[in-house]
Symmetry: C2
Subunit: 213 residues, 2 copies
DNA sequence: TGTACATCAGTGAACGCGCGTTCACTGATGTAC
DNA sequence: TGTACATCAGTGAACGCGCGTTCACTGATGTAC
């Protein structure tokens, strides 16, 4: 590092660096898609600071990773919440939530993987699950879903979404008769079936999801 | 290592060590459940040999890991095939396949995670998927499933199974109203819904899955 | 039957590397008098 | 207004470690004559 020493933060705003470090770690993960790239020295390089500077803000690497995951769960909750808010009709909102969820996983592969492979979940890990559960409940209230146990069904659906979200790689096409796997269509079917929203309601199947893949 | 030099393999059977190395790697993964534990030196230690000995059988670490994953996919295919063979009735066979699949994931957490996080899948990675697809087809033929596209539905189900399989950790119970999450029941619901096997058929719901958790 | 030798399944020491972490420091900036 | 000083946001060098990989070797064993 022959860098000419970064322009440092003014007095009293040293905490800015804390955010910069977390953002550097996230950028590193999202760009390399390699969880192994998440090293203290690598994060410091990416943030343009020296490695020891990190210790002013995080007592050690695991704490830094913890902060990265907490922020990531926040981000996930935010995109799911925005998707739900974007649709007035309950069943459409649920599908949008599912789509937002799995798209987060596809887009931030290594980060999403890390979020769910850590030994302990962040305190805010289940906020997006709670949003999905709420979306199912509104479907039941609107008569769109036949679920008799929205909480259990939210768990089942969440597991399914988690599966689709981690199905991130383009699967070898030669195995498929389908041409490239139509993941968006697959996702809609999965959400409707697991949330027990019968197709006869029909409101959703007439509007196919936007193309993907 | 003050080990008194391992009793070595007789002439012409040096390839035995190749298997021992793969088995040591698998044991290491399954016992630590830490993908980071899968190092060349660690595997050598576990196998009771010196690190350079590995190079007689694998040109480098990635090749060794490749061999471990190929063998793991074989194992997965075997347990799924055995589960299917254990049930005569198609719908029961499909549920058994799903159960065998996710139990493999729960039991061999780090290994299963590695199998699906590697940059390229093993050539035999989709053999267990093909078994699931076959099981769905037999359900359709027997009139148990309403699926009109067993191939696509196999993908959807496979994604769901993958999600449940990676839902390996005991989730924080305080969030649940259910007591410990009833994963086996959850699994049965997921399989039946995604494979489009209506509960009215009734043959399955009368025999609850064996207890778990 | 005896013996020289090639083969083969390994070993031990060493290398350079990137890692997390520690330590003593530096130098700009706001504050007290 | 000037100046001494404490504060604070960082830095650079160094540590010990485990890693993947290389290299020259060793010593038991089967084979050729």
């Amino acid at each position: 590092m022959t860098m000419p020493a970064r322009t440092r933060n003014p007095r009293g705003e040293g905490d800015r660096l804390r955010d910069e470090v977390i953002e550097a770690a996230i950028a590193l993960l999202d760009e390399t898609n390699d969880p192994g790239a998440l090293t203290l020295r690598g994060i410091a390089r990416r943030a343009g600071i020296s490695a020891p500077s990190i210790y002013a803000h995080f007592s050690d690497l695991p704490r830094l990773v913890e902060a990265v995951l907490a922020r990531s769960f926040d981000e996930l909750r935010a995109v799911v919440a925005a998707a739900i808010a974007s649709e007035a009709e309950p069943a459409r909102a649920l599908v949008a939530a599912g789509r937002a969820y799995v798209e987060f996983g596809w887009k931030h592969r290594a980060r999403y993987g890390l979020m769910f492979s850590a030994t302990g979940y962040s305190p805010n890990a289940f906020e997006s699950f709670a949003l999905v559960e709420g979306a199912i409940r509104r479907c039941v209230e609107a008569g769109d879903s036949e679920s008799t146990d929205p909480h259990l069904d939210a768990w089942i659906l969440w597991a399914g979404l988690h599966g689709v979200a981690t199905l991130d790689k383009p699967v070898r096409t030669d195995y498929l008769r389908l041409g490239p796997l139509d993941r968006p269509a697959m996702l809609v079917s999965l959400v409707l079936r697991l949330a027990r929203i019968p197709p006869q309601g029909g409101r959703l199947s007439t509007n196919p999801p936007q193309a993907g893949e």
